[in-house]
Symmetry: C2
Subunit: 403 residues, 2 copies
């Protein structure tokens, strides 16, 4: 799954960098990244809802609130999650923002911070600080900045994950560029999904926040690798305004922007599933005909998270019984005789009756992308959740010693 | 894990049998079982809450209600779940009770039925009927009956699962004997947990039902293999009254009986986890100090069902970060700095701070039985859930083709 890195370009108003500071064991691998906005950017953030919440998440959440969504920089390290590290971890996360602020001549509250990697170990702050200084000295705009930053945030990702789009807003072309790291909760310890999306559109932080939440509901909140929520999840959207165009809530332009943002974020989200630990294929679990959207969501999540469904997916096994029975225990309205299931458009179970798996179904199951449409036949509710298969590689990646 | 089969004895008043009827592919393997009570037994039953519910579950539930908890026989087949089989499946399940009733000279509503095996295939009724006739002709009491019945209900179980106890009730010795089959949701398809517990105590069905529900809350409802609820789960408790002693709700005798029953059912439940698909070890996840029992239950279930915790268990990896973070997203009250975790009595995380894994912890993780005590430090709520590890064998068992 080797892919070229650095296809995307950072939108105007931003510079970025990634350097190897020696936090990761392997020498020369980038592990400190810095994203800087020339002028205060509007920012919106989404963070893990896990009550075990890493120090950088606590600091970023507070800085976003303190400074009312105005941000000048984001500093990131990979190789160490700075989670479950107590008072020392908090001090270290704060120090990362302070040093960055000092070097950039801004306030610490204007700097956000994110970390990803192993849990429960203190950060090697001498290395981190040297890395931040070096990163500050090597900031670039455009493709180089994007590529270096993306390299700096990766951990066990098998391939770089990026997406971009552009949209016309009040007559100006505005750009959206996003990068993400994550492949589930990765060995050797609890890891992280970190996403950074930049745009040269302008926006007030409140409008940005609403757009980000809605886009996340259709992208990052629609994926599952193993159902285990991280302590470090962070999604940041920064708007520099460098394009001269501004997002106004409720306008056609804002709607087009929201759609483009959702597309970028969905692409990033799907790249995480595709790189799910040991994954060989991705399945879209679409539930239709549910009594409500909420019921559809329950059913889609139950199917997408069932280890039995995920191992069957690994074996390319059109095991409809597991899919239908997962929906059956999901808690929403369910009538066996009204339920149908299609794989890539081919029915394998219709109105409560099993059909023989056709050659088309068998072939579809062997592809890298499978779509299950589970129609519950009781209403108009719908939802989709994306998942990956669970194979030997998942067990291998996750059963190794940490101690 | 070969163990002797047939250690237990059916209590007085019952006879049983298991015969090879050819439902399973392998010739000579028992697949039809019959349990008969000389006089009407009081019965209580618990069934899957999955809305995809197998035909035999529908019939048994209805017969129990129709006949107000009075039962003369239970007929079981293994090798075919008779689930997702529509009207034909219902007719087949009814036919199994009708034929048994006819042979035993009782009413069909006095017969319960259970099936386990592959989903979505019609039962080979000619074989099933011949099997029921043969079983009726070979009923035995005592150890032989128990052994033959137990053999008849097994599917991919690696070892037979049985437990017994006796208790004094109004001066009489009463016996409790239970058998169960199940190893999770087994390849090649959705399978089943079936448990049959008999006693020679007497009881009215209402008292029996209350005792069974309470015992199940402390046994079968405390285990998880993969969190995927079956379509066929059935737990039946039959009381013949042959001992002459009768259970009266609220008495010391009933309390002693309930305790003994819970012990038997917990033993059966744990034997399922031990035989969980590909399992090499069993973990008791005990949560203490929660804000409420409900919160403790949420945390224990989140930990016990996390694929990351289960793969770490497979690798004998004392990966406390996964355990603590699973509790963190479970939804109950959680304060990182008050949380502690011990493995077989040895702390590895105390009041929010990681400790170095001691030699004792490393050794404990390698055993076949591991106990995690996760203290949340915020109240007096507690709960326990038993789980098994997730290893390569789980993937192997569950990724094979069904089609």
């Amino acid at each position: 799954m080797k892919r070229p890195i650095g296809v995307i370009t950072i939108p105007g108003g931003f510079r970025a960098c990634g350097v190897a500071a020696g936090i990761k064991k392997k020498p020369g691998v980038p592990d400190v990244a810095l994203l800087v906005c020339e002028t205060p950017a509007s920012a919106a953030g989404l963070f893990t809802t896990n009550r075990v919440c890493a120090a950088p998440v606590q600091v970023s959440r507070r800085h976003l609130a303190l400074n009312r969504g105005r941000v000048r920089a984001v500093v990131v390290n990979s190789g160490n999650a700075n989670a479950c590290t107590g008072a020392r971890g908090l001090a270290d996360a704060r120090r990362m923002t302070q040093l960055s602020a000092q070097l950039l001549h801004v306030k610490p509250a204007e700097v956000l911070v994110a970390s990803t990697g192993v849990i429960g170990h203190p950060l090697p702050m001498n290395k981190v600080e040297a890395g931040i200084r070096e990163a500050k000295a090597s900031l670039s705009a455009g493709r180089k900045g994007a590529r270096d930053f993306l390299r700096g945030i990766m951990t066990t990702d098998l391939f770089p994950k990026e997406a971009q789009a552009s949209v016309t807003l009040s007559g100006s072309r505005v750009r959206i560029a996003g990068v993400v790291k994550g492949a589930g909760m990765i060995c050797p310890n609890v890891a992280t999904m970190l996403a950074f999306v930049t745009t040269d559109a302008g926006a007030d932080p409140k409008t940005l926040d609403a757009i980000l939440r809605e886009a996340a509901n259709h992208s990052f909140n629609r994926i599952t690798v193993d159902g285990h929520m991280s302590t470090n999840d962070t999604v940041l959207l920064l708007a520099s305004g460098a394009s001269g165009a501004t997002l106004k809530a409720g306008t056609t332009g804002a709607k087009a922007f929201a759609e483009a943002l959702t597309e970028v974020m969905l692409k990033l989200a799907l790249s995480i599933v595709r790189d799910g630990e040991g994954a060989t294929r991705v399945a879209a679990v679409r539930v239709t005909g549910a009594a409500s959207d909420a019921d559809a969501e329950l059913a889609a999540r139950a199917v997408a998270q069932s280890p039995l469904v995920k191992t069957a997916l690994y074996g390319a096994d059109p095991n409809w019984g597991r899919i239908v029975s997962a929906a059956g225990y999901s808690g929403g309205r369910f009538v066996e005789g009204r339920t149908s299931l299609a794989v890539n458009g081919h029915f394998i179970y219709r109105l409560g009756k099993p059909l023989r798996a056709s050659a088309a179904v068998v072939k579809a199951m062997k592809g890298t992308d499978v779509e299950f449409v589970l129609d519950l036949g009781v209403g108009r509710g719908k939802a989709v959740v994306y998942t990956c298969d669970l194979g030997y590689a998942y067990v291998k990646l996750n059963s190794a010693y940490t101690t």
